[in-house]
């Protein structure tokens, strides 16, 4: 495969990718369907922001956010059914059951662990130390500015954590498992080795049921933008949306079987962070995964980082075995 030159890099030499918005297919069907899948994303984002902006204090709580999050995912599962991006990414019973296993572990076991050593402890420490009167300069800002700053700072951290995972072997090991997914569906974001899920703080919970409104608004950014990273729905995302925000197109390229393509589009919600640091590639891929698209079983996903890590340690530091046949270099 020749690949396509993007800046200094050749993308798509190992697996097919589509580069450039003009080459990406549009939603097909009648005018109502096309309008729906063009406007759904911005309408959902602005509706959520308006809801959290105006919701009375009695319902502006984390538990409401969790409820809305679950409802939104069910709705998106319905959209996957109606308007799939690729037939080859269709959700099957086995895929659904596998994905839900990881969602379940995130909601339960990781949450329990987080209570001891993870994000919950950190949040509690921060909340104990942080007196809101000392943060008046921040809480006095307009709510949407606060919300954007919270979401941006979080995503900025995620960007570098994610980029680090792709560049430093000890972090790559737990993250690599997530790259064995061979299709994108709504719960695929939860699929990965629990060590990674713990590292990036996917464990649900953390905040008190009382949450400053700005955090709920910031969560709305994550939910109404970041969710589209893993989904099998074709949208005609508006030009401004795909310039600012991460899309399924961007993230499918990140999951491509082409190595160079995976080293792009690291941000969770705000793809302009990738644009700032020169790692953004606009395009999409259908063939996803590692090792030519080998689907990893749950059992292997649980053990892979440890077994691979052990293998590497042995290769590097282990005593050479004299009965081994001499290694033949590949080239």
């Amino acid at each position: 495969m020749d690949g396509i030159r993007v800046g200094k890099r050749l993308i798509g030499t190992q697996a097919p990718v589509t580069i450039g918005w003009e080459n990406i297919p549009r939603v097909e069907g009648g005018p109502v369907k096309r309008a729906f899948f063009t406007w759904f994303q911005p309408v959902a984002l602005f509706a959520l922001l308006a809801f959290w902006y105006y919701a009375p204090n009695s319902i502006a709580k984390a538990s409401t956010a969790i409820g809305i999050g679950i409802g939104f995912k069910v709705l998106l599962l319905g959209l996957e059914w109606v308007n799939p991006r690729h037939e080859s990414w269709r959700l099957t019973w086995k895929e659904l059951a596998t994905d839900l296993f990881y969602v379940g572990i995130s909601y339960t076991l990781l949450r329990l662990v987080d209570g001891y050593i993870g994000s919950d402890v950190m949040v509690e420490a921060i909340q104990d130390k942080l007196h809101w009167d000392k943060a008046n300069w921040f809480t006095g800002l307009p709510l949407l500015v606060q919300a954007f700053l919270i979401a941006f700072i979080f995503d900025f951290g995620q960007y570098w954590m994610h980029r680090g995972m792709h560049n430093w072997y000890p972090l790559w090991l737990p993250h690599s498992v997530h790259h064995y997914i061979t299709q994108l569906n709504i719960n695929k974001g939860a699929v990965g080795n629990p060590v990674e899920l713990f590292l990036i703080g996917l464990g649900i919970g953390g905040f008190f049921d009382f949450v400053p409104r700005a955090f709920l608004l910031a969560g709305a950014f994550g939910m109404a933008i970041g969710t589209y990273q893993h989904i099998n729905v074709r949208f005609n995302s508006p030009r401004w949306w795909r310039f600012l925000f991460n899309t399924t197109e961007h993230h499918s390229l990140h999951h491509s079987q082409d190595f160079e393509a995976t080293r792009s589009n690291y941000a969770g919600s705000f793809i302009f962070i990738d644009r700032m640091f020169g790692t953004c590639i606009d395009g999409e891929a259908e063939l996803l995964g590692m090792e030519g698209g080998r689907r990893m079983s749950i059992r292997e996903q649980m053990t892979y980082p440890f077994t691979e890590g052990w293998k590497t340690l042995k290769e590097r530091f282990g005593r050479p075995r004299f009965d081994d046949p001499a290694a033949v270099p590949a080239e």
Partner: protein, 213 residues
Amino acid sequence: MNLRLIDWIWHVRGTLPLAPAQSGDDALDRLAPLFGQPGTSYERASLDGAAQELTFTKKDQAAQDKMSVFDGGTLRIEAGADGAVLRYHLISRALLFCFLAPLLFLGIAQLTIVFDPHKNAPTEKAEKTKKADKKDEVVQLNPIDKALGAPAPEKPDKDDEDGGKGGSGKHGKKPATTPAYVFAGIFAALYLIGRILEDRLIRRLFRKTLAGE
């Protein structure tokens, strides 16, 4: 204990009549392409009499493999009372896993109770926070937000009461076991759906493949 009494949990069995003129060889020829998927290996053998058998195993089967839910099994063409029949026996670890998953989540619920991180949380600390909260001034809204009509924030000290009542708050008395119970329920339902759905889908796939559709 006779395993057969419980192995229906993850074993799918069934029979399909062949068309009157269809030979065993022809039937297996038609079914064989189903096993040409990545990670699948199969063998065909002629048994005593006219019976024929195809045995397969799968490893790391692709998500879109139509038989991805099965890890192995046998398909046998046998003589039945009304002509030849396809008798299949398929084994699915995914179904077994899904059947056991509710137990896993019930176990996690018990773990949540035993290892509740807030069980021994010092109440003194909670009270201190409460007092501190009461001292805190109510956060003032930015004038822009006031003008746009956003509700003004309340004092955050209500949280501790919420936690006590609802049990989901950080300082609540009860550990949050609800998600684990919900997922146990989800997997019980998923198992029932999967056991019925995958049984029907594989039957339909074999029927259509045999008919050459």
